[in-house]
């Protein structure tokens, strides 16, 4: 594509040269082409450097650990042992299952609470709406901070349960505002009025009119919530005590911070030692393989969801 463009430009220049067009115009066409080349070159370099770290870690995770230091782009001494090994580990398996459980429960609660909040607040005629809006807006500027939240979750008896992860995060005010703005601007009030006159109540209106008409934005924020839960590790690290309840991100954090020792436990570490003597992997390979295993699902869904994310940012920023 870009090449076509350049080829076309240079053809134009040649033709014009033949046609003895005045020099200033010729000069302009060539600087324009040069400008395009420079921009494309810079963008290419930037894109490659943004992507390179992923490629590098994928390659290292697929390499024999003795050759890991020589990897630049492609794997050296190709081996899938690291992946085979991490997926055979109990913590990794349970980590994945936990993450899936927390993520889907979390998004489910998020969506219900967000809609319950955004829908009433999108009704301009609703008495008391402004007061609730201000009540919510205040929380965007003031918060109790980490420790009071911790003490609260502890006092509610949610510590070391899934609820400590999904309930305190039930609403993101930002996402709620995106949905509210969408309801407010994109649902024609004529439809609403006519349904109301036909005797539909506000709940029917939500289910039959608002939700079907708002599918794109609901998809967008459910993706935002999904990513948030999938990537979450800090809250789990302070609220969960049992390692059997850790989500996959926290498992990865622990491998990374302790170079594998705490995460494997003594018996397993010994086993790993034996295992690795005959294999082509070491703890670094495990760390890298686990990183990729955590990143891959996101990279996989990302191209399909990208446009939804951007839509969300647009609507959010219009409000701002």
């Amino acid at each position: 594509m870009k090449n076509d463009q350049f080829v076309n430009n240079s053809i134009v220049i040649k033709k014009r040269n033949k046609g003895a067009i005045n020099t200033s115009k010729k000069f302009k066409v060539t600087t324009d082409t040069l400008f395009n080349i420079i921009i494309v070159a810079i963008i290419s370099i930037i894109s490659v450097s943004l992507l390179y770290p992923f490629i590098y870690v994928i390659s290292v995770s697929l390499s024999n650990y003795k050759l890991a230091a020589e990897v630049t782009f492609y794997p050296k001494g190709l081996t899938f042992d690291a992946y085979g090994y991490i997926f055979s580990l109990k913590n990794v398996q349970s980590g994945y299952l936990n993450t899936l459980k927390y993520t889907f429960t979390g998004v489910f609660i998020n969506m219900i609470m967000t809609i319950l909040c955004a829908y009433p607040l999108s009704k301009k005629w609703l008495p008391g709406r402004t007061a609730v809006n201000i009540f919510i807006l205040v929380t965007m500027y003031f918060s109790g901070g980490l420790i009071p939240l911790y003490l609260l979750v502890d006092a509610l008896g949610m510590r070391n349960t899934m609820w400590s992860l999904v309930v305190p995060a039930a609403i993101s005010t930002w996402n709620m505002i995106i949905v509210r703005t969408y309801f407010l601007n994109n649902i024609p009030s004529e439809i609403e009025e006519s349904c109301y006159i036909d005797g539909a109540n506000e709940l029917r209106l939500l289910v039959n009119i608002y939700l079907p008409l708002s599918k794109p934005i609901l998809a967008t924020i459910s993706l935002f919530y999904f990513i948030g839960h999938w990537n979450s590790w800090f809250m789990p690290s302070i609220f969960l005590d049992d390692s059997s309840k850790y989500p996959i991100q926290l498992v990865l954090r622990n491998v990374m911070v302790t170079s594998g020792s705490s995460f494997l436990g003594q018996s397993q570490a010994a086993e790993l030692g034996k295992f690795m003597k005959n294999q082509e992997i070491d703890v670094n390979s495990l760390n890298n393989a686990l990183t990729i295993a955590v990143v891959l699902p996101i990279i996989f869904i990302y191209p399909f969801c990208q446009k939804y994310f951007i839509k969300g940012v647009m609507i959010g920023s219009l409000k701002g």
Partner: protein
């Protein structure tokens, strides 16, 4: 109350029932923790809870005075300020430059793919991002040290050396956020009237001059608003990234207020002291937002309120 309002209240009864759930949630998970701030003025006792714990003995500002008199606290505050300022100074303009370049690309697969690639790191978890950064910087196998070794120099243990902490942090942040940050600028660039560019072209302006005289002024309001919004960023450093990147060996530069609050308050279970620290920090933060907003209102007539 007139009959119109009364009618609307009656009409909206289902809506009020719906609102009960989120409002209760906001009370419990936002307002109760705000009230929990009183721990900062108490001697917290695990067995007695927040309400029952006694107010700080001798002096109600005991915990505040404790950290204000602690030299380490001021070092941590300075670290926070330095990291935040350097990061904002580099990572605030970076997406603007990238957006300007994206804007010069012709629509097509190259533009689409490079934009898609640039957004990707934003969606990757902080743990994975930091794990990748550490893998690349590893003194034994990392690609960076591999290159250094090829030039015959000694490998550097980047993660353990204080002087490399800020560059690593800023670059990690750039990698994660530069692409995503362009979206808003690209959107406001697409609102520029194309006739302006044509007119400038007829006048003989080149691409760079068009960029400077048309595109940049068009996105100026966006830049200013985002700059104000990013001002608290000077102190609100990326807690998760720092927590994962820092090592005890680099605390002298990498320890910032949020990580200090986390270590002192949560890991050492000094809840009262940690809350006092956090409270002091958010008050300073509010002050910065307020004054930057006031400044921009005066200087550019742009305000977020």
């Amino acid at each position: 109350m007139n009959s119109f309002t009364k009618n609307n209240i009656k009409r909206g009864w289902i809506l009020y029932i719906m609102l009960v759930f989120p409002v209760v949630w906001y009370v419990v998970f936002c307002y109760v923790p705000m009230g929990g701030i009183i721990v900062a003025f108490k001697d917290y006792n695990v067995y007695r809870g927040i309400i029952e714990s006694p107010w700080s003995s001798e002096d109600i500002f005991k915990h505040f005075k404790a950290f204000l008199g602690d030299r380490y606290f001021w070092e941590v505050l300075l670290n926070t300020f330095i990291i935040g300022t350097v990061n904002t100074a580099i990572n605030f303009p970076a997406p603007i430059l990238l957006a300007l370049m994206f804007n010069e690309l012709k629509d097509g697969p190259f533009k689409r793919i490079s934009q898609t690639v640039s957004y990707l790191p934003y969606f990757i978890s902080t743990v994975a991002i930091v794990s990748i950064v550490i893998a690349m910087l590893s003194p034994s196998t990392g690609i960076v040290n591999n290159i250094i070794k090829r030039f015959g120099a000694e490998p550097i243990n980047f993660i353990m050396e204080p002087k490399y902490f800020i560059p690593i942090y800023v670059l990690t942040n750039m990698w994660k956020n530069i692409g995503w940050g362009t979206i808003i600028y690209i959107a406001s660039m697409s609102n520029v009237n194309p006739e302006l560019y044509e007119a400038a072209g007829i006048e003989g302006a080149g691409r760079l001059r068009k960029m400077w005289h048309i595109t940049l002024p068009a996105i100026k309001p966006t830049i200013v608003i985002l700059l104000i919004l990013s001002m608290p960023g000077i102190l609100a450093v990326d807690f998760e990234t720092i927590l994962l990147l820092q090592r005890p060996q680099t605390y002298s530069v990498s320890d910032v207020i949020p990580t200090y609050v986390y270590r002192k308050g949560l890991l050492d279970s000094r809840f009262d002291y940690g809350t006092a620290l956090g409270l002091f920090f958010s008050i300073v933060n509010m002050g910065i937002i307020y004054s930057s907003n006031k400044f921009s209102k005066k200087a550019a007539d742009i305000s977020i309120w």
